[in-house]
């Protein structure tokens, strides 16, 4: 974002950047930046909290009225109230697979889990009028089936001419994660960490993605190996035996 700010300012457009990583902003020195103490992925702060979000945006935009360049970096001091766990949140009931089960069994568990979560996901859409599932342009059942096929060594071609097979696999995994996390959120306010820990440690789908990563990162296809190694399981969730 710092380079973007530089180019835009050179073209005469005033910018202000939100900074999520202060040391990075100190190094790259965009003209104006507001550091916020939030989790990566939420530059404007907590979801569903318009008043808080506007405090962040106002603090950032006010830097545009300042005159003390050539670089300004200020701090936003309020913490994200949604970064703490919600003790009332209960995760959906899932069948946690035992260790070292065959890939075909785990794939079946994942496909059943996706079906079981359907009512919760439908409720999410009813309440929010929105889902972030859709990158793969398949139904969620088809996404699960596509991933299951790869887990069992059936290297499926992409159904779309504009997406390669590895990219299709990545988008199917992204859609499965979004589907499970949306279904699990419910009506309460779990933290992102609560949801991610549940998904990666207590669902068949999370376990299936881990297993697929382990199987395919040994692939001779360098691009496929790189994609599954780096873009499927978050670094914070990778275990020593993954």
């Amino acid at each position: 974002m710092s380079a973007l700010a530089h180019y835009l300012e050179e073209e005469g457009l005033p910018t202000v950047a939100i900074s999520l990583i202060r040391p990075q902003t100190e190094n790259t020195r965009p003209p104006r930046a507001l550091w916020v103490p939030f989790e990566l992925g939420r530059p404007i702060g907590p979801p569903s909290d318009p008043a808080f979000q506007k405090r962040v945006i106002r603090a950032a935009l006010r830097l545009l009225d300042g005159k003390n360049g050539p670089t300004v970096l200020e701090d936003f001091r309020e913490d994200d109230p949604r970064s703490v766990p919600d003790p009332g949140w209960q995760s959906p009931s899932t069948e946690v697979p035992a260790g070292n089960i065959p890939s075909i069994t785990l794939a079946e568990l994942m496909e059943k889990e996706i079906q079981r979560l359907a009512p919760l996901h439908e409720r999410w859409i009813d309440r929010r009028d929105r889902t972030t599932v859709g990158l793969a342009r398949l139904s969620i059942g088809e996404c699960a089936h596509y991933v299951a096929s790869w887990m069992m060594g059936d290297v499926r071609p992409s159904p779309w001419t504009d997406l390669s097979s590895p990219m299709m696999l990545r988008f199917c995994v992204d859609d499965l994660k979004a589907y499970c996390l949306e279904a699990a959120t419910g009506d309460l306010k779990p933290s992102g960490k609560q949801l991610r820990d549940w998904f990666w440690n207590n669902t068949a789908t999370g376990s299936a993605v881990r297993m697929m990563r382990k199987i395919l990162q040994a692939s001779d296809d360098e691009r496929l190996s790189r994609i599954v190694s780096n873009f499927m399981v978050p670094a914070a969730q990778i275990k020593p035996d993954d």
């Binding site: 973007l4 202000v16 992925g41 979801p47 506007k54 050539p70 992102g192």
Partner: protein, 154 residues
């Protein structure tokens, strides 16, 4: 509160050390008072409007347009990195692309107006590869009479 020390060591180091060109100049553009400015938002979340544009693939250095009238339900995130929280965006797109908040701030008179179009790049792209795209975008922004840009990384 999340700081670099909360992240896995390798990821934290990569993020803190992320390279940016060593620019020799420090441009500083200015404009009218905030209450008169027209503001556009640029996200680096790899956002796109489904059915209207392609998702980002890998580290595409170009950008996607998101008209202000776009319903939240039509905006998806195709960012390649999985090492940032997506649950907040799933619940409320304003945490990444705060268009509802910008409308409210314009109505309150805090800013002059909200631009008709907003934009997204993919994060962590090569700044050199992105330069021509950004300069081309600057022409569009000026045509849209934008005189303030809020940059929202993820």
């Amino acid at each position: 509160m999340v700081r670099l020390i909360d992240l896995p060591a390798g990821q934290a180091k990569r993020l803190a050390d992320l390279e940016c060109p060593d620019f020799q100049t420090r441009p500083w553009a200015s404009g009218p008072p905030l209450a008169q400015r027209r503001v556009s938002v640029i996200s680096s979340a790899g956002l796109f409007v489904k059915g209207e544009a392609a998702p980002f693939r890998g580290r595409d250095a170009d950008y996607r347009s998101i008209p202000l009238k776009t319903p939240a339900a039509d905006v998806l995130c195709s960012h390649i990195s999985i090492n940032f929280d997506r649950t907040a965006f799933q619940e409320d797109w304003n945490v990444v692309l705060p268009l509802d908040r910008m409308r409210e701030l314009a109505k309150e008179g805090f800013i002059g107006s909200v631009a008709d179009t907003h934009y997204s790049f993919m994060g962590a792209i090569d700044p050199i590869e992105a330069e021509n795209h950004v300069r081309e975008l600057s022409v569009r922004l000026k045509q849209e009479e934008v005189d303030a840009v809020l940059l929202c990384p993820v």
